[in-house]
Amino acid sequence: MAKYEVVIGLEVHAQLSTRTKIFCSCPTSFGAQPNTNVCPVCLGLPGALPVLSRGAVELGAKGAIALNCAVQPESVFARKNYFYPDLPKGYQISQFDKPLALAGHLDVHVNGETKRIGITRVHMEDDAGKSVHDGFKDSDRFTYVDLNRSGTPLIEIVSEPDIRSSDEAVEYFNEVRQALVFAEVSACDMEKGHLRCDANVSMRLKGAEKFGTRAEVKNLNSFRFLKQAIEYEMERQVEILESGGRVIQETRLFNPDLGETISMRSKEEAHDYRYFPEPDLIPVHVSQEWLTQLKASMPELPQARRARFINEYGLRDYDAQILTSSRDTADYFERAARASSDPKQAANWVVGDLAGLLKADGKEIPESPIPAEHIGELITLITTGELSGKLAKEIFPKMYATGDSPSVIAEREGLKQISDTGALEKIVDEIIASNPKQVEQYKGGKTTVIGFLVGQVMKQSRGQANPATVNAILAEKLK
């Protein structure tokens, strides 16, 4: 394996977050009864015609901008011909020689290094329906078809063969996902089939210029599967090469249960898609003016946001990286930071305690039971001295468990920090009276013993005393 280098290119398919389908006005909503979100157009009935949705082009173009691509002034839809029961027209409406956008890139970070992965093109297409092979009493003889998905708008993002490891591939896939989510182009919910990718994998001897023969692994719908599939392919191909064989160009499928890829069809059996320009649609024109508007309307993208977190909030590189790992996390952090007036503290709570609790709970940021504003409030209570850091740490899991604000919890449990001098003086007097030996030592010059006395006061007050105030009172009384 050490002699070889892997060459990977990814084709990522993402569902655009439009409310309606790309060529008709049927809803794209998920989970409806089979074959209910359909019309003559997306059913491919005889005589029906596609009409391109402007909203889909707008999101496609925003996606391309987020991937640093050049949106083309004119792009053309083409028919991609193949037969499948869930492809009702007998062709997919895609783009071929004139795609929506060209020549982009994304930077990925692996092992502390930044690497630029080229993006060849971004094109638009409609999705097929779904074949249901199981679950019916005659499933041994028939396949059922649900066309609710048919006509869902997709973009396909084709990378250059710039990727050199499974980790880079996963990082790149994740960066694409983040860019699309940040740009509000796609929800990228993998469980709902919003995002999947095909990986082209080949091996060559290190230093070789020519690419080896590639295998294409289709339909990988999780980061883990992508990594597993690439690593399996690397081993499989090296084994073939080492035993003097030749890798054949083919399409393969990943079996998640076995963690293996299996041959689907060879080059000889590959589809000839017989692309030609879609005569039912006119070319797509994106004017310079529209493009300028779209660029102006782009939300802040992950790389820009990361830089701003460092400059504006003074966050460490590492924290900024984690806090921009998803748009939800970044938005959550910013809400907490704004509510607290101490962004660094907010970052610590989000990256530390909150992340820990969420992880243990198997939850993501959007499901956090603690609203970001409560983190802001917690930090304010610490800053104003109403809560000690120790108390805050105690309260935080309770905030998570109940969803209540920190002041409500402190009130309910009587956990408010005692800063009232009268109340504290009383405790201090008691402690001085019951610890004559330490008082003696202090007066004898061993001033460090004050720490012990403060601790006693804190203990007596069940941690609610404000340590700074206690310190001042003790120093005064022991003079």
Binding site: G44, P46, G47, L49, P85, P88, G90, R274, F276, D280
Partner: protein, 480 residues
Amino acid sequence: MNIAKLTIPEVQDGLRRKQFTAVELTTEALRFAQAENPKTNAYLTFSDERALAAAARVDAKLAAGEQIGSLGGVPIAVKDVIVTKDVKTTCASKILSNYIPPYDATAVERLEAAGGIILGKANCDEFAMGSSNENSAFGPVRNPVALDRVPGGSSGGSAAVVAQGTAVVSLGSDTGGSIRQPASFCGCVGVTPTYGRVSRYGLVAFASSLDHIGPFSRTVADSATLLGAIAGRDERDATSARHPVPDYAALLGDSVKGLKLGLPKEYFAGLAPETGDRIMAGVEILKQLGCEVTEVSLPHTEYAIATYYIICTAEVSANLSRFDGARYGVRSSKSDTLSDMYKNSRGEGFGTEVKRRIMLGSYVLSHGYYDAFYLKAQKVRNLLTQDFTKAFEQVDALITPVSPFPAFKIGEKVNDPIQMYLSDIYTITGDLAGIPCMSVPCGTTPDGLPVGMQILTKHFAEDVMFRLAHQYEKAGGFTA
């Protein structure tokens, strides 16, 4: 009332004068059409229920003193490649022999909104592929003028019902001459409007970049009225034009004096006198009406047939993929596997000509051949279009024959696809360029077979075309 000779103004006049109600007229039209149909096989399906319901709506409007629309009460046939909600639409193919669409084509909606009465669905060549109507899975149509001859194709049924008098007007579709050639064979008026003038939504696609819906009628004025009712932008067809629709019928009376007409020399070379003499006699009449006539050249004409059969078959190969037995239409009973279902359903469901074009189209689009065939054909198509653009810088309209020969005998050319393809030689250029063109009757051959004269104008100049045809029709006395 002679129902077989009625025109749109006569129908509307009769309704207004209470000579008949729309329901009475429709009942009689259905009875007459059903009685006469066995002679020609021009109708495949009658839609009595839908027709009578539409007629009742017209009568209700008349009773309420409301406008009944430009087609109010007019009995109409619709080619069976145009979908009609709840009325069987077969495309004259076995594969759709049981297909009942759940929606109406835009042209059908507009036709009914204008008060038109759809009597039924007209026979045609399977999926509109053919020039003789012999490719129908439900038997050929006979030409009402000479029953042993073909009515032309592919809209043979739509032409025959108008010639036979079993509808006042009809809708056909034209991809390479499928309206004009049968109109000329049957001696009626047939119009192919500018590409995009009439929405294709609901027209079962044959070759999408060439398909047009257009009218048949016994008078030029009736075609003008019918086109006016169905033309105009449709948001459901991205290729439909936003260009405003003039009131064609109202402009027919304008003079044609001083209009410049061109005779493209490539369309007359080698033309048999039985057709050529009629066209030249027609040109004389136009001269007498004050038109100036000059010879022009459309130099790329010789490449038109090859260009057409590459582009149209390529589009056919994709357009007909949806007929796979999976969701609608006929599924072969001998289908144990997916691949068998496709092969058997399509093998049993499609006729010879359809299969021939699917194979040709799949070939010209296949990997490694695309540039040599499809791409080159698109370039030639542009050159052919430029020929017309240049010609229309010199003249207002072109006059040509519609077909090199009149209606031929049933069975005469059926085994010779090349001969059959050549019968479209004068009509496919208009489709490739997307310009409006029509066939208007210009007398008969010595054997008494109708001859059609073709008038072509520039994009969206249907008004000029109709005006010329109407004035010519009046002067020539060729009204059916």
